[in-house]
């Protein structure tokens, strides 16, 4: 690990200001992803701003009947909150499908959104990667890219976003609250937070330099069924090969793209009276495999159809 300096933030706006003013600064919350990457020297921050003790650990009702989840609420605390469990079960199911209990106790809601891809080539400093070293090339293209993207990928990057939680947030139409270095706050729809790779896969979110996520806001729960499904190589403590979140009439797919993938084509098809199979086909018409991950297109279609038909979740 490279040496760094450290400060414990005393306010969210102060943390954002410090991040903008200090070269090489990164926010540190739970640290479960950042410290792992720092040990591998894939992340080399010169300065850490510890936001873990900011007063952002509350879950509170919003006036319109939704919930605001503070950015440093742990994944475990968010999943266990009685209001989340009863009104947003898809979020609890997605959270407890991710990582291990020890990691969920430490990892935060904000950090979960900001975690980086688990693409094996991103993790291997001996291989070129456009995320680590812009312009170096993508080793996953033509490599052993079994887990990689089938939607929204580019010639520069075929990685996927690893979060389960974010897939549920996409289906719930959540938004993210932030504070910028100058103190300005704004609300970003979850669908606009993460970026597809395009030519610049190292630019992963729409956040400005120094901008800090302070909360996730859930709108009132939608009418209808909520469900999370995850397919992976082992039953627990493994990243997804494909996942799906259903919330009322909304559908989001996970482990298919560099962002949680809101399935708007399928939603529109269903609203127009399409069958589950037709809806799945509408969404996956643009899906492309890059070799060993082509099976994910078939897998995605089958899981989407089964979920829409109301098949058993386990």
């Amino acid at each position: 690990m490279r040496p760094f300096t450290y400060e414990r933030a005393e306010s969210a706006s102060g943390a954002a200001k410090s991040a903008a003013e200090t070269p090489g600064a990164r926010f540190l919350a739970g640290g479960t992803n950042l410290l792992d990457l720092m040990k591998l020297e894939i992340e080399r921050p010169a300065h850490l701003i510890d936001v873990g003790r900011l007063p952002l650990a509350r879950i509170e009702e919003t006036p319109d009947g939704g919930l605001r989840i503070g950015a440093v609420v742990s994944n475990s605390a968010a999943a266990s909150d009685r209001r989340v469990r009863t009104r947003y079960p898809v979020l609890t199911h997605a959270l407890v499908a991710g990582a291990s209990p020890q990691l969920r106790n430490k990892a935060t809601v904000g950090g979960n959104l900001m975690q980086r891809t688990r693409c094996a080539y991103f993790y291997d400093p001996a291989k070129p990667c456009n995320k680590r070293d812009p312009g170096a090339g993508c080793s996953a293209l033509g490599g052993d890219a079994r887990g990689n993207a089938i939607l929204g990928a580019s010639e520069a990057c075929v990685a996927v976003h690893p979060s389960d939680m974010a897939v549920a947030l996409a289906a719930l139409d959540a938004a993210v609250e932030t504070v910028a270095p100058a103190g300005r706050t704004r609300t970003i729809p979850i669908d606009a937070l993460h970026r597809l790779p395009g030519e610049t896969p190292h630019v992963e979110t729409s956040l400005e330099p120094g901008e800090l996520v302070t909360a996730v806001v859930l709108p009132p729960p939608p009418e209808g069924r909520q469900e999370y499904r995850k397919v992976r190589d082992r039953a627990s403590y493994a990243g997804g090969l494909f996942s799906l979140a259903l919330a009322g009439g909304r559908l989001a797919l996970g482990a298919v793209a560099l962002k949680p993938w809101r399935a708007t084509q399928a939603e529109a098809a269903l609203a127009a009276g399409a069958t589950p199979a037709e809806a799945a086909d509408a969404e996956l018409a643009a899906a492309r495999g890059t070799g060993r991950n082509a099976f994910k297109i078939t897998l995605a279609r089958r899981v989407v159809v089964d979920a829409l038909e109301g098949g058993p979740t386990r």
Partner: protein, 183 residues
């Protein structure tokens, strides 16, 4: 913090309570909680397996909550209470779960055992608080029945390369008491 000497890695001095004893430590900022325990404080009961949060051998309790000590900086825990396997129990005064691991022969090489025991203690508290897992079918229920499937799922963050899982399950079930009534 005093200005560090030129080229020296930055350090931090802070207080942390380990197994009930307040300690004042001065460490390179890069020191993980795991390395603080093992290298600085000489508490080698907590084990370093993968050092990347994948195996669970380094599991300790911080303010009663189980975490991977390898994926946390020591300085993040200033002022907090850390419990390691040495704080759970030392011979001859072993805790009920440590005795259950012996009685059930719940290990072979023993390397993962401190992490398994700290993890199980944290897990039982999570169940007492009613926290759900992906095995929990009724999210609205106040009480989570601690079935064998629940124990296995909730312990999935602790790998045992000798594969003593059936005996680890039995040892945990032995001490779970009424929590295991749904098993």
């Amino acid at each position: 913090m005093a200005d560090p000497p030129v080229r020296a890695a930055p350090r931090a001095t802070f207080q942390i309570t380990v197994n009930g004893e307040a300690r004042r430590v001065d460490v390179d900022l890069r020191t993980t909680l795991l390395d603080l325990l093992r290298e600085t404080l000489g508490l080698s009961g907590t084990k370093k397996g993968c050092d990347h949060g994948q195996c669970g051998a380094c599991t300790v309790l911080v303010d009663g909550v189980r975490i991977n000590a390898c994926l946390s900086l020591a300085v993040m825990h200033e002022g907090q209470q850390v419990t390691t396997i040495e704080g759970v129990g030392l011979p001859p005064d072993l805790s009920p779960l440590q005795r259950a691991f012996l009685e059930r022969d719940a290990f072979q090489c023993g390397y993962c055992t401190p992490g398994q025991i700290c993890s199980a203690l944290g897990m039982l508290e999570e169940v007492r608080r009613g926290e759900p897992s992906q095995e929990t079918l009724d999210l609205a229920a106040e009480i989570v029945p601690l079935t064998d499937a629940e124990i296995r799922e909730r312990m999935s963050g602790n790998i045992c390369r000798c594969s003593a899982y059936p005996q680890i399950l039995e040892a945990i079930r032995d001490v779970a008491g009424p929590l295991g009534a749904g098993a």
